[in-house]
């Protein structure tokens, strides 16, 4: 199964500067994520959640001590991504340029506060990107 093989590929995530436009259809990037602190993350995609209002994908990321954490990556909605050329199979076939950033202070999800980092992903001006640690983390 070619698709399965590709899906288990290590994803290459590359930090990239992008215009700090706070304009999003649904919610505001800068209200949730600190876009001034990019960093890089590499892992294996475990799920691609192709739904509005925001598409998510999940990725197993191995830390230096060998622990594996399942992270959630928040993108823009199906509507925006479709117009930008994505399909529900995109994650299996494309690599992404991404930007990562730390979570802002204060959060109503305490388990995420302990993990002080967030990851973001960018596909161009009009597509979304934002990431959180997976709620269903392992």
């Amino acid at each position: 199964m070619k698709t399965t093989r590709l899906a288990t590929l290590a994803m290459f995530i590359v930090a990239l500067a992008f215009a700090a436009a706070p304009a999003f259809g649904h919610h505001t990037l800068v209200a949730i994520y600190d876009t001034s602190k990019p960093f890089t993350m590499t892992g294996t995609v475990t799920m691609f959640d192709w739904r509005n209002p925001h598409v998510w994908f999940f990725m197993d990321v191995k830390s230096a001590d060998g622990t594996v954490t399942n992270w959630g990556f928040e993108l823009n909605g199906v509507n925006v991504l479709r117009r930008a050329g994505w399909t529900r199979d995109s994650l299996y076939y494309r690599f992404f340029k991404t930007r990562t950033h730390e979570k802002r202070l204060g959060d109503d999800f305490p388990e995420m506060v302990q993990k002080s980092v967030e990851v973001g992903l960018v596909l161009g001006e009009d597509t979304g990107h934002q990431v959180r640690r997976s709620h269903r983390g392992r």
């Binding site: 259809g25 919610h27 209200a31 209002p53 928040e74 479709r82 802002r104 204060g106």
Partner: protein
Amino acid sequence: MEKIESLIRMIAGTALLLVFALPSPAQWVNYKTPGIPRTPDGTPDLSAPAPRTADGKPDISGIWRVNGYQYNIGKDLKPGEIVMLPEAQAIYNERRETNSFDNPWARCFPGGVPRAFLSPDPFKILYMPVLKVTVILFEAVQTWRQIFTDGRELPRDPDPAYMGYSIGRWDGDTFVVETAGFHEKNWIDSAGMPGSDALHVTERFHRKDFGHMEVAITINDPKSYAKPWTVTLPFTPYPDDELVEYVCNENNRYPTAK
């Protein structure tokens, strides 16, 4: 397996630049919107005359977007044009200090008026002179407005609503819409400028030609602002596209954070 993976990694590393070859927006639908004036090479002719309906009015129907005002609707106004009353200012300040934590739109509630226009997502205006109603379908959070053009008045004591209650009439070539009957939870824009249950919105839709519609929006809310204020937004056609289903509640995991 490890060898294969490292090989794949290498290939992937070199393939990264391909990302820039992503298809450009608005090419995902392969249907041309009918009835659009086009130049010889098939692109929509934005400076063609505005289409007219059977009753001779400019037809404001079609898919539109508003660019550039998604966050702050008043960004082009001079200081002092929008004067918030103290209570409204306090609400606004709180929304800013809490990073829009109680943003209704982020929690899948309708955007309100005029905020429902202030999304990167398109909306479709359907002007229907026979049914005497104009309907606007908003892709964002999948909501709608109906603007009655049968001559009725605004209701005296309507149930408060997110999108209010709208009536429309023609003033020459300008479609004028009056909307009231909001509740106090309204956000005028995504920055969180407040609207109260006294909010009355007047929108003047003027389609100058095929590609340009100016919509002057007057906010009159004596409980929130010291005086009415008006912004004029440019509506841009969004041809050869279609609305996409947008079920906001389906995947709304972490809408806001303080």
